[in-house]
Structure formats: C-alpha cells, structure tokens
C-alpha cells in the first residue's frame, strides 16, 4: 500500500508543481505581453487612421471573435471601426471602415486581400480610390458604382468588391448603431424594386408589398385596383457574389418577366445575364409550380458565363420554392389529390392480400390504401415520393392499424449507380424503419435514421418520403379513428 501511495503522491506533486509554474509564467510574464501585442497589432493600424484617439476597445461576440472596435476620444466613444469584407477577384477583400457615431466616414483601409499584383492590388497602392469614401455618410450617401464612386480602371471586380463591402458596412452601421433604421432600410429596398418594376411593367397602376419578420415577402403589381401579378426577389450563387433576380409571375405562378436586381459577376462575361435578354427570356411562360429550372436541354446557358447562368437558374428555383411556400402549401385545394390507381393496386398485390381499397386522404401527400382480408382492414399501405438527386424516390410503406411500420420498400429510383442506387441493395437502410411508429417516432436523418454514406441526398429523400407517409397516416387514419 505505501508503495502505491508513493507512486500517486510523487506524480501528483510533479503535476501540481508543473501547473503552478506554468500558470505563474502565463499570468505574470508571457500572457500580458502576448495579449498586449495582439491588441497592438489590431489597433496599430487604427492609430494610423485616427491619430488623435485616446484609447481603443475591442468588442467581441460570445466566441471571442472581433465584431468591431470602439475608438475613444475625450472619454466617450467617438468612432467605431467595423471590419468588412466581400469577395473580390482572387479571394476575400477585407477592409476596415471607420466612422463617427453620426455615420460620417473617417477612413476606409485595406486589412488584407489576395488580388492580382499590378491590377486589383491597386486598391491598396492607390489610396485615391478608398479616399473617395472619406466624409461620405453611411446613412445619407449613396454608394452606386459609376455615379458616386469611380472604379479603378482595370480593377473593376476588386473595386466592386470594396464598394459592396462598404455598402454592407453601412447596413450594419444603420442596424446596430442607429435606432429605428430597419424601416428606413426596408423602404430603400422597396424603392429599388419599385424602380425596376416601373421599368418592366409600365402598364401597372400601382405596386404593393407584403412584409413579414422585418423582410419583404413579395411585391404585388396592381391594375385598376386588382392584383394582376406578383414579384419575388431571390438569390443564387454566381461567380463573384449573389445573382439577385426579380421574378414576376401571374396568379398561377407562370413567369411573365424576369429582371436583374443585382449581378456582381465579371463584366463582359457574367453580366451578360443582364445585358443579353435572350437568356432570361427563356424562362418566360414557365411555371413556378410545375417546371424545373435547371440548365439543360430546355434552358441554354450563356457560353462563357456558365456559373452565372447556373446562379440565375438557382435564383429562379429559389423564387419557385418561395412561391410554393407562400401560395401553394397550406392551401389544400391547390394540391393535386392522389387518385385510385390500378397500377398501385397491382404492386400491392405482390406483397399482401388480394383486396385493397383506396382511402381518400386529401390532407396527406401520399396515396393511402387499406388491405382487406376476411372483410376486415388488416394493414395500411402508403405510397409517397420525394425528389432525390436525379429522380423521384418512391417509397411504399406498410403499417398495422396502430401505425407500427411493418415494411418499407423503395419502389423506384434512378440515382447515381453505385452511390444512390445502393438504397435498393442495402437492406439495412429500410430495415431501420421496421417497428417504429408512424404516430410517435421521429425520423431525423443522422440521429434516428442512419443515412447511406455517399448517398446522403438519396437517403434523405427516401426518409422524407417516409415522413410524408407518417403525415398521411396521422392526418387521415388517426383522425378517422378518433371520430
């Protein structure tokens, strides 16, 4: 025993002495110097920008990440310095924006960038460009490239990135340091959209809008007091930044017009989405609810501007899902109701029983059948399908009268060979569902349901179909039982 105590004792003492000496050195010698130096590096540049400041405070978020700096003069916060960034030609362009509390810009300076030497890096070597911002006001001034700010010739993308960063900084300033600016910002956004609408729809009498949660949901175009069209703003990812489009549709979701709100992609290439109307005109007449907006045989991309074209298509897809969310989902009448389908009965007969009845269930998205044996309902079968990577994944689910899952069958899929199609081969995936309850179980992929690694999209789609089946079951069978 004493031997063991000695072993533990010696090791403990060594560890304690080690910890004490380390904490002493860190707290008393090295730590303060390290902190001081890091702060020095950050404020060294601020000191150059605001030479007469008394002190600098770093404001961080909960994760110790720097949000902005307060520059103190005469005992109060005289300026704030906000780090801003936007993507340029070679990577992010990081700037720091210094303004007083009224929003007057004191300085804009480059923190770092990876722009082309001799071109984009002139943002740093030619101070005249950033000096254009000095003494403009973050709230009142506008920062339109070309009219308010002159771009560096030969470094347009970098100039645009810097300007976008300043615009974002202005927005941040208004939301965080000014009170009651939210409405002002919304109004500006609205005016911008109305200006575009005025141009593309000169026939309209009036424009309206709908706001929810501090954001514009959609805009309306009115004629003689009636809403004739809706307009949705949406974004997709372009090469250098977002591709923002305004999609104008009629009441049924058929596209009437698409206008560009903003594109920051390369002039002469990506911006041809805006300058060559043939591209966006292709989408006219397509339906936000029925069509898919992928660059393929039906939609031609702009040669030399593939990524921007794809960004525009993505933007329209986002408009479509927004449209469906706003106007289609929740309104049961618009949902195509499942119908009794002899093909489905034929599939069902392969599994169990001979006799099936179609249960009308307009509240659920799946097709519900009841299997009858000896004049009694024994099992329910639900067909549901969800979009996978390349095709719809159709799932057939059998459950007993209380909603316990008896079997899950993947009926069809066309996803990538040796990835998505493994869902048909690897039985453990569908076996995971057996025994779970449609009423009570949750089906979170990753937590409750393991997905097929390398086939996440396909597995998630199949899982979504099971969830849709559960919804169908819950909304029709359980309600019916309760009545």
């Amino acid at each position: 025993m004493p031997k063991a105590i000695r072993l533990v004792g010696v090791l403990t003492i060594i560890c304690v002495v080690s910890a004490l000496s380390l904490s002493y050195v860190f707290n008393e010698i090295a730590g303060p110097i390290i902190d001081e130096r890091e702060k020095e590096a950050a404020v060294g540049m601020l000191r150059d920008l605001v030479p007469d400041a008394d002190d600098f405070e770093i404001v961080t978020d909960d994760n110790d990440r720097i949000i902005y700096y307060e520059i103190i003069k005469g005992g109060r916060v005289a300026y704030v310095a906000i780090p801003i960034e936007s993507s340029g030609f070679g990577g992010p362009v990081r700037l720091i924006l210094v303004a007083d509390m009224d929003g007057n810009i004191e300085a804009v300076s480059v923190l770092n960038h990876s722009e082309t030497p001799g071109y984009g890096d002139r943002i740093e070597t030619e101070p005249e460009f950033l000096e254009q911002y000095i003494s403009k006001n973050l709230i009142e001034s506008s920062f339109t490239m070309g009219t308010d700010i002159t771009a560096l010739a030969g470094a347009t993308v970098t100039s645009d990135a810097a300007n976008r960063a300043v615009q974002r900084g202005a927005e941040y300033f208004m939301l965080n340091f000014m009170e009651g600016m939210e409405d002002e910002l919304l109004e500006r956004e609205r005016e911008e959209i109305f200006a575009i609408l005025n141009e593309v729809r000169p026939d309209a009498d009036e424009f309206g809008y709908e706001i929810e949660g501090g954001q514009h949901l959609y805009y309306t175009i009115m004629k003689e007091g009636n809403v004739v069209s809706y307009a949705l703003v949406s974004e997709g990812r372009g090469l250098n930044g977002p591709v923002q489009l305004l999609t104008i549709v009629d009441e049924d979701g058929v596209i009437e017009e698409i206008a560009v709100v903003s594109i920051v992609d390369t002039p002469g290439y990506g911006d041809r989405v805006e300058t060559e109307p043939e591209f966006l005109d292709q989408f006219k007449g397509m339906s936000l609810t029925d069509d898919r907006f992928e660059i393929d045989d039906t939609i031609d991309k702009i040669v030399g501007a593939t990524i921007t074209s794809m960004g525009a298509a993505e933007s329209i897809r986002n408009a479509a899902s927004k449209w469906i969310e706003l106007f289609i989902e929740g309104s049961a009448a618009a949902k195509p109701s499942e119908e009794d389908d002899p093909d489905k009965i034929a599939i069902l007969r392969e599994y169990f029983s001979e006799e099936y009845t179609f249960e009308n269930c307009p509240a659920g998205s799946g097709a519900l059948y009841a299997a009858i044996l000896d004049n009694e309902v024994r099992t329910y079968a639900i067909f549901s399908s969800k979009r996978g990577l390349q095709s719809d994944i159709e799932v057939l689910l059998f459950a007993d009268l209380t909603g316990i899952i008896k079997n899950v069958v993947i009926l069809s899929q066309n996803d990538t060979p040796s990835y998505g199609d493994r869902i048909l081969e690897e039985d453990w995936f569908t076996d995971q569902y057996i025994g779970k309850s449609l009423n009570e179980s949750v089906f979170n992929p990753g937590d409750d349901i393991d997905v097929l690694s390398g086939a996440t999209v396909t597995s998630t789609a199949a899982n979504d179909a099971v969830i849709a089946s559960a919804d169908t079951f819950k909304s029709c069978i359980q309600k019916g039982a309760g009545q």
């Binding site: 010696v10 060594i14 080690s18 380390l22 090295a30 730590g31 110097i33």
Partner: protein, 202 residues
C-alpha cells in the same frame, strides 16, 4: 570537468542526435527550410533538454521507477509549454515561423531518450553537460541541414543573398527536399568517417 567536456563532445560529434543517432527527425525534416528556423528550433530544443535534464537528474532518487515515464513526460511538457509561451511573448516572428513544431518538441524522442538514458541515472553535472552537448549537436545539425536547403532552395543564407544569379532548386524548400538533403548529408558524413578510418571501399 574532464567528464563534462567529454559529454559535450559526445553530444556534438560522437553521438550527434541527428547525424548519428537519427533522433528528432520530425523537426529536423519539418522546419529546416531556413537557417534562422534551424537555429531557433535548435535553441528551443536545447532549452527544453537542459531544463528537463536538470530537473530529472535532481529528482532521480525521488521518482519511483514505475511512474518514471509519465513523470518525465510531464516535466518535458512543462518546459515545452514554457518555451512556447516565452517565445510567443518575446520572439513572435520566430514563433509564427515554427508554428506547430514548438508544441511538438514534447514528442521529440531525443529529449525523452536523454532523460531516460542519461539524466535519470547520472549526477547533475553530467546531466547538464549531456544536455548542452546534445542540444548544441542538434542545433548544429539542423542548422547546417537548413542552411544547405536554404542555399540550394532559395540562393540565400540567413536571408542574405549569396547566389544572386542562381536559379533555385525549389524542391529543396519542399518536404521531399528535406529527405534528399538529409540523405546527401548522411552519405557525406559516412564517407568522411570511412576515409578517416583508412578504408577507401566500404
């Protein structure tokens, strides 16, 4: 005193950690891109070696045999963390250049090997002599390796240009270059050894 000098010579030449014992290969290959890095890493390692050898030699009769390895590691790790913090405070440029290799001194087997083979069995005087010898031997070895790579890979030494119109062999600045350079230097040392012994053929 005679022993002390012998220990120092042993570390630098007879049992040079890099060229003879092939210990501490990780930093020797990882950070030897410039001669400055080599000296910085060498001196940091020497400091850790000296500190851990002194403490372990003093505690050699206190530390029970069964827990000696964990004890050595705690002591070595303490000194490495000290070096890491002090270097960050006083030599920030060097600290940034050496990066993760500073905390990795903990797993440099040279240090644990000297603790186990030398400091835990010998008096304070010999442990100090051994630490200085091994530390200087390690510093010299990786600095010469780094200088070799810097000259061939960059045309400079200690950041002074010595080969102005030289087209640098960029591979020397890559990790593969470290293996090539070390191989060449080991071959050279073996060749010197063999010719000194009088044999012209191995």
């Amino acid at each position: 005193m005679e022993n002390f000098l012998k220990d120092i010579k042993n570390g630098i030449i007879t049992e040079n950690p890099v060229f003879v014992m092939l210990l501490g290969m990780c930093p020797a290959l990882g950070i030897t891109t410039t001669a400055i890095n080599g000296i910085g890493m060498g001196l940091a390692t020497t400091f850790v070696l000296l500190g851990s050898n002194i403490v372990i030699s003093l505690l050699r009769k206190v530390i029970p045999n069964e827990v000696r390895i964990p004890s050595f590691i705690v002591i070595i790790a303490t000194f490495v963390t000290l070096v890491d913090m002090l270097m960050n405070a006083f030599f920030p440029g060097l600290h940034d250049a050496l990066g993760v290799f500073i905390p990795l001194i903990v797993v440099n087997c040279l240090i644990l090997q000297r603790a186990e083979a030398m400091a835990s069995k010998n008096s304070l005087g010999r442990a100090v002599g051994d630490a200085l010898g091994m530390g200087l031997g390690f510093t010299l070895a990786i600095t010469s390796l780094a200088a070799f790579r810097e000259i061939l890979g960059n045309g400079t030494i200690f950041e002074f240009t010595i080969l102005p119109n030289f087209i640098p062999l960029r591979v020397m600045t890559q990790s593969s270059g470290a293996f090539i350079a070390l191989g060449l230097m080991l071959a050279f040392i073996k060749w010197v050894e063999i010719t000194k012994k009088g044999g012209s053929r191995a």
